[in-house]
Each structure stands twice: as structure tokens, then as C-alpha cells.
Symmetry: C3
Subunit: 183 residues, 3 copies
């Protein structure tokens, strides 16, 4: 089977279940799977700059930015790839887009959403995602993510879909339907 999409970008707030979905779909539909954060860490390790996420995110902002760009350049010409990234990062100084639209031109951008309850439960189970967050702040983050990804889709002229991950199996089927449909 010829896969219809060369570059798929999958975004979502931490705890939404994005990575589990991406890994399942990649395996089932034979897409290459790239975790953007893991690739950044690999690059940082290869340059002896950091060996953990915590170390990497403590690096000088300019250096982090350079690693982020290097990762984008590695991804940009890949074929049949699902790129798993937040899309928009939230920190104490607000939001910043983490999709490098200048370099990576996806054929489709997916935003995974789910109920706030489910996201909070997931974050509590996952030490890495233990974020001190309120319902207001999560609502705002999800709104900004949807906004910014829709903007990117409008600018790039690429497809855009929002998937609800309230039931994993249903969301998986929906995602597989989209990613196996001839564009």
C-alpha cells in the first residue's frame, strides 16, 4: 500500500495520550515514528551537552533553540513519517510554538484533544508529566494549541484534523482512517 501522507505532525498537550496513539498507528500503518523531544536529546547527547531532558532544558536558550533547529533539519526530508511533538509549549513565561514551520512542511497536522479529567489523571500517573496545572490554565493551553495549529495549517495550506482521545480504541481507528486515506 502506498501511504498517502509523507509528513504527519501530531500535537497535543502533555497527558493527552499522543505518544501511545502515534506509536500504535506507526506500527500498524508502517509509518516511521519520530519523537521530536527524543531526537533533540539525542542531538544534545551526541554533542556532550546533556544526557537527560532536565539537563537539556537547563541549557542556555540559544543552545536549546539551535538543537531544536538541528532536529527540524534532520526531519524535514523524511518520508512517511509521523512526528510527535507538543506543538505549543507552556511555561511560566507563556506559550511558544514548537513546530518549526519554517523548516518542516507537514501534509497534515493533527491535534489530539481529550477531556480535562482524563488529562489530569494521566499526568498524575506519569512522573515525567507531573505538572502543577489548573483547569483554567489547561483550558487556555488547549485553546492556544488549537489556534496556533489552525494558523499553521492555514499558512502552509495543509490538512488539519482534531481528534478526541476520550476512548483510545475509537481514536486509534479514526486516526488510522485519516492516515490511510488517499489525500
Amino acid at each position: 500500500m502506498e501511504l498517502p501522507w509523507n509528513m504527519v505532525v501530531v500535537t497535543g498537550v502533555p497527558g493527552v495520550g499522543k505518544t501511545t496513539l502515534c506509536r500504535s498507528v506507526s506500527k500498524d500503518l508502517k509509518y516511521n515514528y519520530i519523537n521530536y523531544g527524543d531526537l533533540m536529546l539525542e542531538i544534545a547527547e551526541s554533542r556532550d551537552l546533556a544526557s537527560t531532558d532536565l539537563q537539556m532544558f537547563s541549557l542556555d536558550f540559544e543552545i536549546q533553540h539551535e538543537i531544536w533547529k538541528s532536529a527540524a533539519l534532520k526531519i524535514k526530508d523524511m518520508k512517511r513519517v509521523i512526528v510527535d511533538l507538543h506543538g505549543v509549549d507552556q511555561s511560566k513565561i507563556g506559550y511558544i510554538i514548537s513546530l518549526p514551520v519554517e523548516i518542516i512542511k507537514p501534509d497534515i497536522i493533527l491535534v489530539i484533544e481529550s477531556s480535562k479529567d482524563k488529562i489530569f489523571r494521566q499526568r498524575n500517573e506519569d512522573a515525567k508529566k507531573r505538572i502543577n496545572d489548573t483547569i483554567e490554565s489547561l483550558t487556555e493551553h488547549m485553546d492556544v494549541l488549537r489556534n496556533m495549529m489552525a494558523s499553521c495549517s492555514a499558512i502552509l495550506g495543509c490538512n488539519f484534523a482534531i481528534l478526541k482521545n476520550d476512548n483510545f480504541e475509537e481514536c486509534l481507528i479514526q486516526m488510522k482512517n485519516i492516515l490511510s486515506t488517499i489525500n
Copy 2:
């Protein structure tokens, strides 16, 4: 009377009453009226590629895209024109912008909205617009349309207005007020 706007783009989801409004305003204010979909079909017909919408939308995606671009190139230098198009198309693979911002630079983008009830009633009456849709999916479509058109307006630096078509006569007056106001 000198018309204040050369290029007016009017968008809205199917069933919102966009075309009826555009035709009335064009007639009353002496704008040229262009239906983007009809123009695409004309181009497809002139090339012996399709003679119905259904045939056109069954063409290879690359060919559809080429027809879409040809239509944009025909419209781009027109004067005093109202261009009637969806703005954002919804399909089983998500959303895609249908306003070719690279080619057409509107002076103003209008988004027509109305109550979901009214939209569903209209779609049931109109065989061509018989879309199997839920309230959630329609809400999302309207949200994505507003988002993407606001992005286009921000990028192009053009005016942007949202009109509620809950009462046809009132909406018509509002639209005529905007489109006869000196910019």
C-alpha cells in the same frame, strides 16, 4: 458611487445562507459576483475533465488543486468583486483552507455564521448540502473556519468581520452597510 472594496471574500459553512446573501448584496451594490466552486467547474468543463461537481471532486487531488489555482489566478486582478467560497472545507480527512491567500489578497474577509439549528434545517432542504453532520462536528467546523479566516486577516493585514445570519433581512442590511462604507 465609488465602491470602497475591490476584493471581498465571503466565507461560511454549507447551509449558512452565504450564497443568497452574496447574490443580493452584489445585485444591490453593483458588485461582481463570483462563486468559486462554479468557476472551478467551468474550468474543469472547458478542459473536458468534469461536467458535475461530483465528477470534479472525484478527480485526482493534484488536478483538483491545479483547477483551484487556475480559478484563483482568474479572480486575483478582478475589481469590485464578491468572491463566495467556503473558506475551509471539511471532509473525512479533516479541514483544509480553500482561500488561496498566496494568490488572492482580499480587502476584507467576511465570515457568515448562524444558529446550528438554522444550518441543519437549511441542509435538510437542500439536496446538494445533505451532509451527515453532528452538532459537535459543526461547532468544530465553525470554530476552525473563524480561526483560519482570522489568521488570514492577520497575515494579510486586511479587514475581518463576522456576521450573524439569524435573520436574513438584518444580516443583509449589516452586510450592505459594511460593503458600502468607505474604507
Copy 3:
């Protein structure tokens, strides 16, 4: 102390308390403060075109646009500056972005929001901001502002934060925290 941001853009609808916040933060953190509207009026005055806001906004649209661009060119290379502007202007012909993204490249865009009640109370107290507005129209304006500023942030790759000014002291602390944090 080295300030982390060179170009800060602060936006919000009239009556949200933006200017009071900007002036306090500028004073406390030693940022330069620029009111975009005041700068436009200065330029208009220096060219003998207008001596009040009302006169300026009655000028030919082309001339207003030229003054708007001149103001942007004056601001663009400034350092450690807080630029106070609406972000999106609302008028009887809809919305138009007032942030000149082609010229001014902020490091961070802030959107100040507050409860609609508070905004209406403030507008009633302030003769200059006496705007005949409904709750629906204000809600729409705030939504469009957030949308367009998020788009600008996505395009420019700059930080983006939304601050709630329901309690002035709390909002001031939050804004000072963001604007004194090393980026």
C-alpha cells in the same frame, strides 16, 4: 539587571486596563514605554495633519496607514521597550490588526483580558473609551484579538502569554514575573 526581552508588545481591548499595567511595569522594571496611539498622534502633529485623536482618525485612510507605518519604523529597532497597542481595532466595518508584524518583531506578545463587567465599568468611567458595545460584540472582539495575536506568535515564533486583569495587583505581579524572567 539585564532585561530578558527587548521588544514586548502588550495588547487588549479598550477598558481592560492595559495602559495602567504597562506604565507600572515599565517604571518598576525600567523598560521604555511606548504608547502606539500617542506616537501616531505625535507624528501627525509634527506634519501639521492633526492635533487630536479625533482629527487623526478622520484623516484619509491612506494617510492614517502611512502614519501607522512610520510609527512602526520608529519603534522597530528600540531596545527594552514595552509597546502598548490594541492589537486588533474594532469598528463598524469589522476588525483590523493594528500590530505591524511586517515591521515590528516582538520577543513576546501579551494579551490582557478581564471580566466583561470590569471592562464595561471602566469604559463608562473613561470618556475617551465611551463605546456603545454589547456583551456579544465584546466577547467576539476578545476572541478575535486572542486568535489574531496567537497567529502572530505562531508566525513570528515569539512567546505569547494571556494575563487576566481581574485583580490589578495580582496581574501586575504576574506581568512583572514574566517580563523579568530570563528568556
